[in-house]
Each structure stands twice: as structure tokens, then as C-alpha cells.
């Protein structure tokens, strides 16, 4: 009970702070949209073509969309959703991260073989081993009642 009171007070203060400080800029504002590749005349997926690896606002080097980006963007996306939103609609992220999907990402984007999508090929068999080795990797996407429906036919 005591913990709930402190949490409520903390959330109320944060809410009031948001309202009071909404006019105070951080100096880290990002544009709502990035220039398109056509306007830029260069690929927007390699940030360091134009920005320093450690720029004033971001460590741009760690946002380069390298061939391994699909499996390594977790921390950058978690802390900087506004950076992702400059180029991607939320629907792009929802190919993989969503409440309930019936088509797995590699099926939804079947012909985009270069995207290093999870579960490519016969993952039904491979998941028996990957799931035993590291079930936490399954839990991130299949750990809630709606998303776990794909597991229910066999796992109950």
C-alpha cells in the first residue's frame, strides 16, 4: 500500500513536470522526418556518410544499418524511438513487434531474403532446439496471452 502511494506521487510529479517543462527544449531536438534518399542523393541507411560516428546529438555510428542491424538494433530502438520514426512508420516495426500476428515476419516479407528476418526456412523444427537452449529469445515476442496463441496448439 505504502509503495503504491509513493509510486502514485512519483507519477503525478512526473506528469506535472511534463506539463510544466513542456516549453523547455533539451537542445537535442531531432527533425520529425529525415531527408529522403532521393533528396539527399545518398543512402540514408548509412548515417556516417553524413554524420560523425559520435555526433552532437547521437552516436550515429551505432545507427548504421549494417547487414547485422536487423538483429542488433534493440538498444538503439528502445532508447531512441524518435530516431526510428524519422524514416519508419510504426507499421514497419510491427512486421515483427506486434500484439498479434499470424504471418511470421519471414512469411510476410517472403521475397526480401536480404533482411535477416527471424524464423526463416523450417523454423518449426529448429525452434525445438533454440527454445530449449534459450527460451528467453522466444518470450520477447510470444510471452503474452495474445502473442502466445501461436504456441498454444502444442504447448497448451
Amino acid at each position: 500500500m505504502r509503495k503504491n502511494i509513493w509510486l502514485t506521487i512519483g507519477l503525478v510529479f512526473l506528469l506535472l513536470g511534463l506539463a510544466a517543462c513542456a516549453a523547455l527544449d533539451s537542445g537535442k531536438e531531432l527533425p520529425l522526418q529525415h531527408m529522403s534518399a532521393a533528396d539527399l542523393g545518398d543512402k540514408t541507411t548509412t548515417c556516417t556518410n553524413c554524420h560523425d560516428a559520435r555526433g552532437e546529438k547521437l552516436a550515429f555510428g551505432d545507427f548504421n544499418h549494417t547487414p547485422t542491424w536487423m538483429t542488433t538494433h534493440k538498444y538503439q530502438a528502445n532508447q531512441n524511438a524518435a530516431v526510428c520514426a524519422m524514416c519508419h512508420q510504426t507499421s514497419y516495426c510491427n512486421s515483427c513487434h506486434a500484439t498479434k500476428l499470424e504471418l511470421k515476419p519471414s512469411e510476410r516479407n517472403q521475397s526480401e531474403s536480404y533482411r535477416q528476418m527471424p524464423h526463416r526456412g523450417d523454423y518449426l523444427t529448429r525452434h525445438r532446439i533454440d527454445g530449449r537452449i534459450d527460451p528467453t529469445s522466444c518470450f520477447r515476442c510470444h510471452g503474452k496471452p495474445k502473442s502466445a496463441k501461436t504456441c498454444a496448439p502444442c504447448h497448451g
Binding site: 521475397s111 529448429r126 528467453t136 503474452k144
Partner: protein, 428 residues
């Protein structure tokens, strides 16, 4: 009055309040995208062997607003599916989900943002969808914050339960060029039960070009750490190196309350702790070649054993998205049933002769060899070929692909898929 009704009243009031905010004076745009996907496959069902399964999926996305300027906007995205063959393969011949549908207001100052409606949250300890309100803003030069509250979409009306409420917040401290430190909290109440957790996320920019990223989450119901995940990024000459560390306590990570689902609820009671340590090295060669090597070790507390995964990739990137690649991976598990060798090669080729009626050709071949046979089969073979072309000034994208798989679950499985993607944009 139930808490759910209180939330509904607050949301209705908030929706009306949003319309009192100033609309931007610039012309708004309407952007619409439709993706229609038809799949063709065969499956044994409870009523028929080798029954045709013909699901047709429709994904709809609608955005109204001024994408490059602050102001009010509306966003919607969802999918639906109809099984045209209706041969009892699916539990229901129709299915679907509204993934998001929200009104958004972006302020001109301090990165103020308000979203109302169904939305996906991915920040700090939150990785979930809510029907509710989220507010975020900079709080001066060194801080930013966000709060959200509403109904948890993941738990609505599942297994006879009604999701009651979800709320949380994240406050972050920044020293530009030095670090970003976020503290977050989330509580999901579900009837008499609740799931409460706190998290800490960190980006630190250290000397010698070393960057540290990480995330820890604390299960507040048990007061134990559920997860620690951290990685470093630095370069040694031309080689990018990414060592990483993860530690999970199953009981606190998977949860043992009634919000936990199978098969994770079973694992939560095992007392297991998993530690993952690994390193990935990436070597670009010129502008076209990339070599990647990865080694990962899994260590267990209860199992008292370990497994390792080794992989290597070679990737060649050409103009206009063309890419060819190969990958080999070896899972060296603690027992024979946890060992396999994987080989994958793929291609995505856009630089085709103009005489061909397609814009790209994609292909993929994957072979997996299992140390211990599964259902009498000790390997999987998968091959996929696809082509695509754009029409109507690139507004219409047509893709056709076919797959063949021979694996422990399917003797010979053939599938085909046709995708029609149509984009429409208009100034309002």
C-alpha cells in the same frame, strides 16, 4: 463504477480535449497503403488429408497529417484474414487485429508528444500495446520523461480474463555526448493479480570510442532482477567488435502469476538461471563485402551444463539493394538433441536486364543437419524463389514467390504467395 469505465470516461474526455488543440496551418496529407497477400498451401486437417488452405490477408495503413511538421495527425494499421478454402485448418475462417489506431499531437517545442488510442509502446521496461494515453516531453536540457495509462491490449478477454489497467512511466537523464540513463516503471493489473516491474536502460559513450549499451529489469513482485543485458561496441582497426552479456532468472523473467503463459509458466518454476556471453566481429572490406563472425555461450545454473553457437556470414552488397550472402551456423548444445549445423545462401538481385519483365529476383536456400533425428528425419531442406515488379509510377508493387520444404514436419511442402501492395497519397 469499474476502473475500466473510469478509464473510458477519461479517454473520451481526452479525445475531445485533443480537438481543442491547434491544427497546423500547413496542408495535411492523406497516405493510404493496402497490402493484399494470397497464400496457397496444403495441410492435413481434422476432416481432410492434403486439404487446400487459401488464406487471403489484407493489411491496411492510413495516415493523415503533416509528417514533417508539428501538429495533429491520425494513424491506423491493422490486418484481417479470410480462409477462402475453409477446410478447417484454422480454428476460425476469419481472424484479424487492429495493431494501432491513435490520434497524435506533436508540439513545436521540447519534443512534446501526445498519443491517444491503441498504440504500441517500446521504451524502457514497456514492450506492449495499450488502449490509452501516452504523453512525452523533454524536461529541460538534461531530462526527458513519458507517462502512459490505459488498458493492456495483450491481456484483453483472453482465457476468460479481462485486462483491467496498465500504467507506467520513464524518466531519462541525458548528458549529450556522454550518456543517456533511463529509469522506467510499469504495472499491469488484471482482476486481483498484477505484474509490476521496473527497468534501467543505459547508453554510455566511453573514451577510446567505446560505447556501452544496456538494460536491466527488476521484478517488483519478487524484488529480484529478471534480466541484465549489456553490450559494448568498439572498433579495432577496421573490425567492429560487439561483446555482449545477458543474464536471466526464469522465475522473475517469465513470471509465475496468472499473466504468465505456457510454455513459459512451466519454465518459471524450474529455478533456472541463464547466462549468455558472446562476441560479434564485423569486418567491412571495401564498399561491397562484409564478413561477420559470432560466438555465443549459454550457461545454466540448474542444468549445470553449457551450449555454444558459432556462426559466420559473408555478404556482398551491390547497387540499388542488390545483395548476395551466405551463412553457416553450428549449434553445439549440451546433448545430441540440441545440436545442429545450418547453412544458408541467399540472393536479392535488382540489376536485371531491361528486357526482363521483373524488377528483382530473390532466392534462398537453407539446409539444416540435426545430430539427432526428429520424427525420423535428420535434416531440413528449404528453398524459396521470388520475383517482383512495380507499376503505376511505383504505386503498385506485385510480388510472387514459391517455397519448397522437406523437413521433419512435412515430407514435401510446396507453398506459393502473391502480394499486391498499393500506395496512395493525396494533399488534403
Amino acid at each position: 463504477m469499474k476502473l475500466r469505465d473510469v478509464y473510458k470516461s477519461i479517454f473520451c474526455f481526452a479525445i475531445l480535449s485533443l480537438f481543442c488543440l491547434p491544427w497546423t496551418v500547413s496542408a495535411a496529407q492523406l497516405n493510404f497503403q493496402s497490402d493484399t497477400i494470397l497464400r496457397m498451401l496444403e495441410r492435413d486437417t481434422t476432416t481432410k488429408d492434403s486439404a487446400a488452405v487459401l488464406p487471403i490477408y489484407e493489411y491496411i495503413q492510413l495516415d493523415i497529417g503533416t509528417p514533417d511538421e508539428p501538429g495533429l495527425s491520425f494513424h491506423l494499421y491493422g490486418w484481417g484474414r479470410l480462409d477462402m478454402a475453409d477446410n478447417d485448418y484454422y480454428d476460425d475462417s476469419t481472424a484479424g487485429e487492429l495493431l494501432y489506431s491513435y490520434i497524435e499531437y506533436t508540439g513545436e517545442q521540447a519534443a512534446f508528444n501526445a498519443r491517444l488510442g491503441r498504440q504500441y509502446l517500446f521504451e524502457g521496461v514497456a514492450d506492449t500495446a495499450i488502449d490509452g494515453l501516452r504523453l512525452s516531453s523533454d524536461l529541460g536540457k538534461y531530462f526527458s520523461g513519458s507517462v502512459y495509462a490505459g488498458l493492456p491490449v495483450d491481456y484483453s478477454n483472453e482465457n476468460g480474463r479481462d485486462g483491467d489497467s496498465i500504467y507506467g512511466a520513464r524518466i531519462a537523464n541525458h548528458m549529450t555526448g556522454w550518456y543517456d540513463l533511463g529509469l522506467s516503471y510499469q504495472k499491469i493489473s488484471n482482476d486481483s493479480d498484477s505484474d509490476e516491474k521496473a527497468g534501467m536502460d543505459l547508453s554510455a559513450y566511453l573514451p577510446l570510442g567505446i560505447n556501452l549499451y544496456g538494460f536491466s529489469s527488476l521484478n517488483l513482485d519478487t524484488d529480484e532482477w529478471a534480466e541484465h543485458s549489456y553490450e559494448l561496441r568498439f572498433s579495432a582497426g577496421p573490425v567492429g567488435i560487439r561483446p555482449y552479456f545477458q543474464k536471466f532468472r526464469y522465475e522473475d523473467y517469465f513470471g509465475t502469476d496468472n499473466t504468465s503463459v505456457n510454455p513459459f509458466a512451466f519454465l518459471a518454476n524450474s529455478g533456472e538461471e541463464l547466462t549468455v556471453v558472446g562476441t560479434e566481429a564485423t569486418l567491412p572490406i571495401g564498399n561491397s563485402w562484409t564478413l561477420v563472425a559470432n560466438i555465443k555461450n549459454y550457461d545454466y545454473k540448474v542444468l549445470s551444463d553449457s551450449s555454444r553457437y558459432y556462426s559466420g556470414k559473408v555478404i556482398w552488397s551491390g547497387e540499388e539493394g542488390t545483395q548476395l550472402g551466405g551463412e553457416a551456423g553450428l549449434m553445439d548444445g549440451d546433448t545430441d538433441q540440441n545440436k545442429y549445423l545450418l547453412v544458408r545462401v541467399y540472393g536479392y538481385w535488382t540489376q536485371l536486364p531491361a528486357m526482363l519483365p521483373v524488377g528483382y529476383v530473390s532466392s534462398e536456400l537453407m539446409y539444416v543437419d540435426y545430430d539427432q533425428a526428429i520424427y525420423g528425419e535428420d535434416s531440413s531442406f528449404f528453398v524459396s524463389v521470388g520475383v517482383g515488379q512495380k507499376f503505376l509510377d511505383d504505386a503498385l508493387d506485385v510480388k510472387v514467390s514459391g517455397d519448397y520444404s522437406k523437413d521433419p514436419y512435412y515430407d514435401e511442402d510446396l507453398q506459393a504467395m502473391v502480394t499486391l501492395s498499393y500506395r496512395f497519397g493525396k494533399d488534403l
